[in-house]
Amino acid sequence: MDTQKRKILEIRNLQVSFCTTTGTVRAIRGVDIDLCEGQTLAIVGESGSGKSVTMKSVMGILDKNSSVDGGTVTYTYPAGGGAYNTVDLLKMSRREMRRTINGKHIAMIFQDPMTSLDPTMPIGRQITEGMIWHYKTPKAEAERKAVELLREVGLPEPEKLMKQYPHQLSGGMRQRVVIAIAIACDPELLICDEPTTALDVTIQAKILEMIQKIQKERGISVIYITHDLGVVAKVADYVDVMYAGKIVEKGTIDEIFFDPRHPYTWGLLSAVPDLDTADDRLYTIPGSPPDMKRELAGDAFAPRNIYALKIDERAEPPMFQVSPTHFAATWLLDPRAPKVELPPELRARIERMQKEGR
């Protein structure tokens, strides 16, 4: 990370588990994440990877049957007058989180705009609600700010929209309203959980561009949770790849897309059909996402990994460093491991992609 930029979020060794009738599930098994001011981080993973749960524990909105078993989530935010406060979010009670952090300093937007908005409340009230609660803004001023926010997120005729209800808007417009609500109290960190998955492809790019514009104008840092590599390619500065509750590879966007080191990342990159692929088959990761109820000794990815080593069955690989910003947790990076090359289709694709950008 850049030393000039201030680090605002530092997660160390987060452990979260769920309690179900069929047993305890260790959903997050030791996750480290760093984020600096103004940067965009993308957390990529599939089902069972734990990406949503990680961010929910940052926000303090985990379900009742889950418990945080360990780790720290250190968040730094401006406390006014140039000074900064640093707190461990896991140590705060739910009430404190609601009153001081949620909405005010960290905001989250979710995947489905249909269910993110209250169907019985007009849009204007939903935006002003947070401002009135957190800052005791007088109603008239809050409404004025709401109209400006609607304009900022690119919605036409904001005054008319204030009185409308969510069901009168299209999916893309609703998601813009959700973003307006999120930034209403001027947070410094915005967490977006699959913000474009439920939207049509022609609207996806516009929503992402709008978030980027807001980010630049307000100096917000953004964390994207997604499984869509197109979204990652568009917006992210840094990428963390998660599998089975752990981060298996992290790095800058160029490092992850053009120099991936973990076999799971290879699988993810190859599984997306490229418009220029003339291949007959997509190289794909065999097997299914892990059943988190089972504790496996060793590397959780080993059963699906055709490059697994014998040691993967016994011991989990530690993070190996590839560059100051690029780390991967795979025994293949150990000096004693055999030299394994990228699958040929992936290498051909990376070479093609590198030429494209010129």
């Binding site: 049509d200 022609t202 499984h227 059909p273």
Partner: protein, 311 residues
């Protein structure tokens, strides 16, 4: 591959599907669609939400009764009232795979009973052991161990459930499988597995697919021919190369420009073309299908066609 000179396997002419909500308001989900599918080929039907693509699939397989239009399948007319013989043929030769892996399997039935449902309804197997063997063969073909026939759906992951759904369709040895957004709800790496499986099955059995989806890059990968739907109209259709290399209709162009590339260099500078039907001045009802070349057709009035092909 497919034989374009022979009689098409499925031919749809002027299909209309309207839903009457109340006396004042009718939803025109599908408003006059024509296309053909040849034996053994994959036809990709692409559109966004509200385009009517799922409705077309369901009308063809007669989950809805079409409001108007003619559908011919394997030489039979299946758009009107179905005779018993036609009904039986339709229910065996045409199958469907659904979108939601959680909802497409009956939670209270064992996998074996789910997969063998078609065999049971049409009394195809003579004995229980024959039924068991056929189920085991199909499960192996879709990449699941035959022991799983004794399990229940909730014990499987999403991708595995989707494969059970494919097994259920495949065991009937159909000529046409309609895949209604069958990979949209799956993880990226599992999507690739399922799509590879579908391609393998097609190579082995010669089944045709009507692949309904909104993900253009997947559609390009699996289809030989593509149809682009918007608001219930088929605005452009042709082979995959024709559509991707020479899109003519502005909606097709905007859709293609909106496809995300998993390449940071390209993705950051890409701008999508915008297309708003309401303000574009185009009225789909006024256009007719014009054949450009080969199988490439566009919905346009003469004037629009001139504008787009000269521009």
């Amino acid at each position: 591959m497919s034989d374009h000179t022979a009689e098409p396997l499925l031919s749809v002419k002027g299909l209309k599907q309207y839903f009457r909500i109340n006396s004042g308001y009718t939803v025109r989900a599908v408003d006059g669609v024509d296309f053909v599918i040849h034996p053994g080929e994959t036809y990709g039907l692409v559109g966004e939400s509200g385009s009517g693509k799922s409705t077309i699939g369901r009308s063809i397989i007669r989950l809805y009764d079409p409001t108007a239009g003619e559908i011919r399948f394997d030489g039979m007319d299946i758009s009107g009232r179905l005779s018993k013989k036609h009904d039986a043929l339709l229910r065996t030769e045409m199958q469907m795979i659904f979108q939601d892996p959680m909802a497409c399997l009956n939670p209270r039935k064992k996998v074996e009973d789910i997969v063998a449902q078609g065999l049971d309804i049409h009394h195809i197997c003579k004995s229980r052991s024959e039924r068991r063997d056929r189920v085991a063969d199909i499960l192996l073909k879709v990449g699941l161990a035959p022991e799983y026939a004794e399990r229940y759906p909730h014990q499987f992951s999403g991708g595995q459930r989707q494969r059970v759904g494919i097994a259920r369709a495949l065991i009937m040895d159909p000529k046409l499988i309609i895949a209604d957004e069958c990979i949209s709800a799956l993880d990226v790496s599992i999507q690739a597995q399922v799509v590879n499986l579908m391609k393998d099955i097609q190579a082995e059995t010669g089944t045709a697919y009507l692949f309904i989806a909104h993900d253009l890059s997947m559609v390009k990968y699996i289809s030989q021919r593509i149809g682009v739907l918007h608001l219930g109209h088929l605005v452009e259709t042709g082979t995959t190369e024709e559509i991707f290399e020479n899109p003519v209709h502005p909606y097709t162009k905007s859709l293609l420009s909106a496809i995300p590339h998993p390449n940071p260099r390209v993705e950051r500078v890409r701008t999508a073309l915008s297309y708003d039907y309401r303000t574009s001045g185009i009225d789909y009802n006024k256009g007719t299908q014009h054949r450009l070349e080969g199988t490439h057709c566009v919905l346009a009035t003469d004037e629009e066609l001139r504008k787009w092909t000269n521009a």
